[in-house]
């Protein structure tokens, strides 16, 4: 299996980034990732303020990936390091109006648990915060989300999930990082359990077009959208899902919309990055063929 070491990081996704690995459709790759602070904040130096945040390991050049294709990334394994950290930042996140104190709180990881404090543990639920390809136009900082992926902070991007990303440049230039050992939907204080990790994925090139990130887990198909407001992100997600259901099930826009109203879930990924990210999820069964295969 190919491996990329954690000294190979980028802080912006761009078509001008030099690939650090060349791979083929079907390959499995292990990404060594740093935490969102580049592993710079430690118990010995908790007050350190990194100049840049959200490094992503990569990018990988995928030989078969052409403009207009879709890159399918199957998340096979996320192996966490043994310590995470979570932060409280003045004037940021959903509690900005009344949180004034900066704190960095270290969380030892043991047996699938994070020790938040004595007698209070949080279960680990590893997920990938940043995953994306080179964006269509100018470079985008890894701390931002967009149609190319990026800092979506989506809890559904976890072991066993499949992420679909649009290819805007030859080779796609996949990079990922910013793993969280745990994070609630919304990441309301602006921080998950930030941690370094090893992430093993399988990549495949699909000769179809997807216009934005989609995620499939055991139960649902999600379209992921980012915008300035939650309302706008949700509207975009509803539009994309409606279009897809029309095509998949042969429904009118009205009938597809009613089905979405009945069994589609509007869900929040994060509300603390430069754009907010929502996902709209429909049951996976709506996208399976009669033989139960994913179509």
């Amino acid at each position: 299996m190919k491996k990329i070491a954690k000294d190979q990081v980028i802080y912006a996704m761009s078509s001008e980034n030099k690939p650090v690995l060349k791979a083929h459709s079907g390959d499995r790759i292990c990404f060594e990732t740093r935490d969102c602070y580049g592993d710079e904040i430690t118990p010995q130096d908790p007050d350190r303020r990194p100049l840049q945040i959200n490094p992503a390991t990569g990018p990988v050049f995928v030989e078969e990936a052409q403009v207009g294709d879709t890159l399918k990334v199957t998340i096979e394994k996320i192996t966490l390091q043994d310590q995470a950290l979570v932060g409280s930042y003045p004037k940021s996140g959903m509690m900005a109006d009344w949180i004034e104190r900066r704190m960095i709180h270290f969380l030892p990881v043991q047996e699938n648990q994070l020790e938040f404090q004595k007698d209070l543990v949080v279960k680990t639920a590893p997920m990938i915060g940043v995953i994306g390809v080179a964006p269509e136009a100018e470079s985008v900082a890894c701390r931002k989300p967009g149609v190319h992926g990026g800092n979506m902070d989506c809890r559904k991007i976890r072991e066993g999930s499949v992420v679909y990303l649009p290819v805007f440049h030859p080779g796609a230039l996949l990079a990922l990082g910013d793993v969280h050992a745990a994070m609630g939907d919304g990441e309301v204080m602006g921080s998950g359990a930030e941690i370094a990790a090893n992430v093993t994925v399988q990549i495949e090139v699909i000769k179809e077009t997807c216009g934005e990130p989609w995620v499939v887990d055991r139960d649902r198909v999600y379209v992921i959208t980012s915008a300035e407001t939650m309302e706008e992100a949700l509207k975009q997600g509803c539009y994309k899902m409606n279009q897809r259901l029309q095509k998949q099930l042969g429904l009118s826009p009205e009938m597809a919309g009613m089905l979405m109203s009945l069994e589609g879930n509007s869900e929040i990924c994060q509300v603390v990055n430069p754009f907010v990210t929502l996902r709209f999820g429909m049951p996976l069964v709506r996208f399976l063929s009669k033989e139960g295969k994913r179509s």
Copy 2:
């Protein structure tokens, strides 16, 4: 068991509503409810436009309920009638920009399934759309949500859940209705599977104050907040949850906020009523005593 027939409905929650039943803390009551159109839209008359929507059956005067108390409502049973309907409305909901056709689609209910169309069934997941008490100040239409409850369209208000509502007037004046046989989070097209139902609840008066609706299900404790925007509703919910966690666990605002960021979920109830409604949920275990009891 006491029962209220479906001809006893109100279209606004108000301290001036005449009680249709007097009950005691501990009583069980069955509410016969109409669908959100007052049962007026039928396959024989699908084009009918009711003058008022979202009737709630009641109100009940609870003898022990005093201003400042909390009314605890345990949802024991929701029994659906045999036909639901779902609507597509021009220029409404998250798909307003491109849905132009009004449609009313009838959904026969059979064996816990809704027949959406041939070969496409939706599982039933009954929930209560409207549940509330008389608001503190002027009357509020049942189609609106607020701190008194009302049209919150929260999918977690279902069999087995417990709803906590603030008491603003002697007797509380509980009313409920607008049951959905199924609905996705967000109710993105403005309609669930609207249906008449019988709802059995147990009511209890708690001599403590809750400032807004809270819901407890098997896994989580949710605070429910409504506002003009999703961001504002979520901010309010985060504030309330933060306050409660500080008290419950003896945490600072920062530590409570970090715990929320790690394991609190920002969730969407509905985005289609005059105010949108969100819920913020934390694991129930955070609110249990060491003996496992709810505190």
